[in-house]
């Protein structure tokens, strides 16, 4: 009796220890996030003022602001979502509403999964070879947006499919039962019901596109242009690339540290802002359903 009770105590002790480990690893994630955000905020907030946000860089990028980068990142992510959203939602509609299980469907799914796994720098190479060189777009907002659009496509397809799947079948049956065609059902019933979920995915897609560096290095971004873009064929500056350039290739790497922290802070405020909107929006949706 005594022996078995000590064995039980031992098993319970292991249980407590292991669950402590689980808690610790979860905490490590939180701590890592906090540390990154803390350093960026603590060292970056002083760089941020009205001039920083509304002026172009000056004195060989050692002073002035980051306006062209903010505008550039805005254009690129907007362009990316304009490319990815229609194609992504239409793909998801086919996959979830029309496709029958079979070899073709499996091939399409394997295509999407593998596209999601392509390294970002390979997207950059592809964008360079296909959009910039072969389609003769040159290093431009257009080429960069298309490259980023292709990169965000799997994200959009995934989230749109999930949104479509969460629409109850009773909605579809009711509409079809009233004599509507399949397309009328999709357009009037399923899509409106799935719209919030699709939009959440779109926001996450924008945030992904805004933070990517490698795909735009060869397709859209340049070290420095004095003017804001006036057409889709212009080269552009972008926040992520600006951080990379200032931190590694500038002439005054140490002297521009505050600008680097400031730019990084602007970028994560943008990306986290978009993500928080998506997270809160989705939590509300889940509560409603």
């Amino acid at each position: 009796m005594n022996k078995s009770s000590s064995l039980l105590r031992c098993r319970k002790l292991i249980q407590v220890a292991v669950f402590g480990l689980f808690r610790l690893s979860a905490a490590i994630n939180g701590i890592a996030l906090l540390v990154v955000v803390y350093f960026l905020v603590a060292r970056g907030w002083r760089a941020i003022n009205w001039t920083f946000l509304t002026q172009p860089p000056k004195e060989a990028m050692t002073e002035g602001g980051i306006l062209p980068c903010i505008v550039g990142t805005f254009c690129l992510s907007l362009g990316a979502i304009l490319v990815a959203l229609p194609i992504g939602v239409a793909s998801a509609i086919y996959l979830n509403e029309y496709a029958r299980p079979g070899r073709l469907l499996r091939a399409i799914r394997i295509g999407i999964n593998n596209l999601a796994g392509v390294p970002s720098v390979v997207f950059g190479l592809f964008g360079l070879a296909f959009f910039v060189v072969w389609l003769k777009m040159g290093v431009s907002v257009l080429a960069g947006s298309l490259t980023l659009g292709v990169l965000t496509l799997p994200v959009i397809i995934g989230s749109s499919e999930e949104a479509l799947r969460s629409v109850p079948d009773t909605y579809r049956e009711a509409s079809l039962g009233l004599g509507a065609t399949k397309w009328q059902t999709i357009y009037r019933v399923v899509l409106p019901a799935a719209l919030p979920g699709i939009l959440t995915g779109a926001i996450l897609g924008i945030s992904r596109a805004a933070g990517e560096t490698a795909p735009i290095m060869f397709t859209a971004a340049v070290f420095y242009t004095p003017s804001l873009p006036t057409s889709v064929f212009d080269e552009i500056m972008a926040l992520p690339y600006h951080i990379y350039v200032l931190a590694t290739a500038g002439t005054e790497i140490e002297a521009t540290r505050h600008l680097q922290y400031g730019t990084a802070l602007v970028l994560i405020v943008l990306v986290f802002g978009l993500n928080l909107i998506a997270i809160i929006y989705r939590a509300r949706l889940q509560r409603r359903m």
């Binding site: 996030l33 239409a90 086919y94 596209l115 970002s120 592809f126 360079l128 296909f130 993500n275």
Partner: protein, 303 residues
């Protein structure tokens, strides 16, 4: 009556056209994937007129701008694999244990906090992590380990680990969730503790999903560019210690493409490196696909 049947036919034709439209759009992903392969090979293959495939893959020296140049990417491949393996050592336990915390041990309220944290970690732009590793972690490592540079294999692996933890965590979490509740209840009813249930029932039952998660996490790590570009140190050499600077494949491509003259041997060699990198990630993805299809958990019966 006649009119009605006509519109019925018209409606059907319209439906068929719409269906075909969505089908063709759905093919975009495969088309793009094919285009990626075609254009990588198109721009990469010419290098093999100058260097044999064997010398390219296993050549020990990468001096693309010397005269005569050396195009051996073996040190780059080794660097990529080492960085990925070392980051996996950190990210696998961290990712899986966080997933177990979220599914098995956290209260509903804590879950609502931890889950967004993991999602925000996933959303951190890679250039920001690279910048952080460069200006904060590198000097710190340099000081405590007393090494010549903090930009090295170890630092890059550490930062990569934090990029793959969210991938591993969220996919493992789904896998653990999909374990049927009756298995867990049966084990608990037999007197097993929660941990014994996890170790003997839940983990074996979700093993295929967790393997998929791990492979996808490693695939993300091997293809990640900005982190290794900014932190790995950039020396194209075979590492002899974990504090050596290295130059993984993505870093080499990203750093040199801007300087390589258009359609020079160097340019072709970088595209060929891209082909090798793409082949690695494709392999990872196909393996994970295979595992998740073959060992799919269908109810409790297949355990």
């Amino acid at each position: 009556m006649r009119k009605n049947s006509q519109t019925g036919e018209g409606r059907q034709r319209k439906e068929r056209i719409i269906r075909f439209f969505f089908f063709s759009v759905a093919l975009t992903s495969i088309t793009i994937l094919t285009l990626i392969v075609v254009f990588l090979f198109w721009e990469g293959l010419p290098i093999f007129c100058k260097v044999s495939v064997y010398d390219f893959l296993f050549g020990r020296y990468w001096y693309p701008t010397d005269d005569p140049p050396d195009f051996g990417i073996f040190p780059l491949i080794v660097a990529s694999l080492t960085v990925t393996a070392m980051s996996a050592v950190i990210s696998i336990p961290l990712g899986v244990m966080t997933a177990l915390y979220l599914t098995e041990s956290a209260s509903a309220r804590l879950r609502e906090w931890v889950k967004p944290i993991v999602e925000l970690l996933a959303a951190l732009p890679s250039v920001v992590i690279g910048f952080f590793g460069m200006v904060i972690v590198a000097p710190f490592l340099q000081e405590i380990f007393n090494i010549p540079t903090g930009l090295n294999l170890f630092n890059a692996s550490l930062m990569l680990a934090f990029m793959s933890v969210p991938t591993i965590c969220s996919i493992s979490e789904d896998a653990i969730y999909s374990v049927p509740l009756e298995l867990k209840e049966a084990s608990l009813a037999l007197g097993a503790t929660q941990w014994e249930t996890i170790a003997r029932v839940i983990l074996p039952a979700s093993l295929s999903g967790i393997s998929t998660a791990i492979i996808l996490g490693m695939s993300r790590a091997i293809g990640e560019t900005m982190v290794v570009l900014m932190i790995a140190g950039g020396a194209a050499q075979l590492p002899s210690s974990i504090f050596d600077p290295v130059r993984p494949m993505p870093a080499s491509i990203a750093a040199e493409m801007a300087e390589a003259p258009f359609r020079s041997d160097h340019y072709y060699a970088l595209f060929a490196t891209g082909v090798v990198l793409f082949a690695f990630t494709l392999l990872f993805n196909l393996v994970s696909e295979h595992i998740s299809n073959k060992y799919r958990q269908v109810g409790a019966a297949t355990l």
